[in-house]
Symmetry: C2
Subunit: 344 residues, 2 copies
């Protein structure tokens, strides 16, 4: 599998990590880890316009819906989506339960990979990953899945920072979530990742409760245990593919209102951002551009950044953003700090 995350060496050398300590004066700024610039300004002006009584663009509190893509928008998605890492790392337990899988592709490939053969990653295709996802996340009860995912998230570390995945959220976006909520916005995650997976950590990590997580959703089946107690089993039946056109469709299904502000970072978010902007009144669509190889990653291929299959941001998406008045957030230029742990 081709996962490109070549660092932009020159940029890395020039930028480095900017240490940031808030002073008393800055503490009052709800977006303190943002540099002053068009992105911060667009967000602040949008919030003022939609929440100031008497403003021509005032939005009633019950209609204040904000949606956020997750991977690459709220936290790190490179070198690989966290949920894919979860599924790969569940394979040994799966093989222990079903030893006949040890010599069957793609499970044998994953075992090689986990034993240190990094080249094995190249052999895995997206259909392989889908197959591994089905094998590791379905046919079990909702509660069993939640317990397994929770335990993994409490232990698994990101290969670059050696930190828990839940520590690798973007501080500037955490500030946006809080700022919007403080102004009466209901914040939703709208993710291509699994709805049940993201729900396991979204409340603790972002203050976003399970009922405000819209994601790719598999069906469940209601049944009874031997003692008569009912339970839900996760099934390999796709109800919602929450990517591309599936994002506005999922928003309608799960929320039933059009967002007033939406954040994404890849082509999978394009339709959500279009749908948001097509509403009446004040609407703001934003894209996070990963252009900071030193502090995080640099990938596009928009604007000459390295190409990638994980969180692709094409030049066509960049051009659409510029044409339609969407705001592109440059991680390098707009964010003083990337991660919460940097500012501690």
């Amino acid at each position: 599998m081709k996962i490109i995350c070549k660092p932009n060496v020159l940029a890395a050398a020039l930028v480095g990590v900017v240490a940031f300590t808030p002073t008393i004066g800055e503490a009052a700024d709800p977006l303190a880890s943002w540099n002053d610039g068009p992105a911060k300004q667009a967000i602040v002006e949008f919030v003022k316009a939609t929440t100031t009584q008497g403003s021509p663009q005032f939005v009633p509190p019950e209609e204040r819906i904000a949606t956020f893509d997750q991977d690459g928008t709220l936290w790190v998605e490179h070198p690989m989506y966290t949920q894919v890492m979860y599924c790969l790392e569940r394979v040994p337990a799966l093989v222990k339960a079903k030893p006949e899988l040890a010599n069957v592709a793609p499970f044998n490939t994953v075992l090689e990979l986990l034993h240190g053969d990094r080249a094995a990653m190249e052999k895995l295709t997206w259909p392989d990953i889908e197959k591994i996802g089905i094998a590791t996340m379905t046919g079990i009860s909702v509660e069993a899945f939640q317990a397994e995912a929770k335990q993994w998230l409490a232990e698994a570390k990101h290969p670059r920072w050696k930190k828990l995945y839940t520590e690798l959220t973007y501080l500037p976006m955490q500030e946006v979530l809080k700022y919007l909520r403080a102004n009466g916005y209901k914040t939703y995650i709208v993710t291509g990742s699994g709805q049940d997976f993201v729900r396991v950590y979204a409340e603790q990590t972002y203050g976003i409760p399970p009922e405000q997580v819209v994601g790719t959703a598999l069906g469940t089946t209601y049944g009874y245990a031997k003692d008569g107690k009912p339970f839900l089993t996760k099934e390999p039946k796709l109800l919602l593919n929450d990517n591309n056109a599936g994002k506005p469709e999922g928003i309608h299904l799960m929320i039933g209102r059009r967002p007033h502000i939406a954040f994404g970072n890849s082509t999978g978010d394009q339709q959500m951002l279009e749908y948001t902007k097509a509403g009446d009144g004040a609407r703001l669509s934003l894209l996070v551009l990963h252009d900071d190889a030193a502090r995080e990653y640099a990938y596009g291929p928009a604007e000459g950044l390295p190409d990638t299959r994980v969180g692709t941001f094409t030049q066509a998406l960049y051009d659409e953003a510029k044409k339609n008045g969407w705001t592109v957030i440059s991680m390098k230029n707009d964010w003083k700090v990337i991660f919460p742990f940097e500012s501690k």
Copy 2:
């Protein structure tokens, strides 16, 4: 179509409508239209146990989820579900747009019915009604559907009370909704009716926003108008049949947490009530029994009440409720007032 709602004549003669005027002392009671009795007591005790700090059954605010069936639990469902009435009354407009349907079953039968031939109703089967639903509610944009449903709801009257359907909510249940919300519960509708239909009026009628309405859901398709503006079209593709086992499945899909308290009134609610009670800690499941032919309707067939195909409450369901400690609410005995307009 067999819709039985024979009034229990003796009960009607004995009971009548009890006039009810709240006094100053009673105004402090959040459940003022409830008679003192086991149902009211169960609700009040549940709320106290789950919201009093230090109580062994205390439930953290974020986990306070309450779910309510709609038709027959929050408002009148006889002689026919409101959404079915909507679909039937949309047929003339449909035939105007597609005149070739005028002589095709079941549309011709609906036209006869609407021209006063009540016997025509007997000819309509559930598959006919499903067909009419698909024809009247899909193939149009989400916004067009919302506008049509909103207009109908502003004009259509219930055949018995000659009032808007949205006026025929149960005052005691409106009180329960407010009482639970005042105690930190998030109130959800979980209905077999169409999610999009109920969302049109739920916020104004019950204070329940669109994102807290879980219902039978059809898919939508994202597309673009000629001017490039994106929109969602309602499709005849069933995503969630929110009845029976579909209720807990829908709750998991849309909410992702198990309710602590759930209200229903028919066999379609059984699994939701089982699922609720199967959770840890304090859980309360309740069923509204329509045993008041004088003030509303009487149907079961539980407890010897007349049988019906609309909102069936079987003896088996009644027996399960009694066996499992669910609370059965008698409209006749537990409710001082049925409708908000009675107490004005």
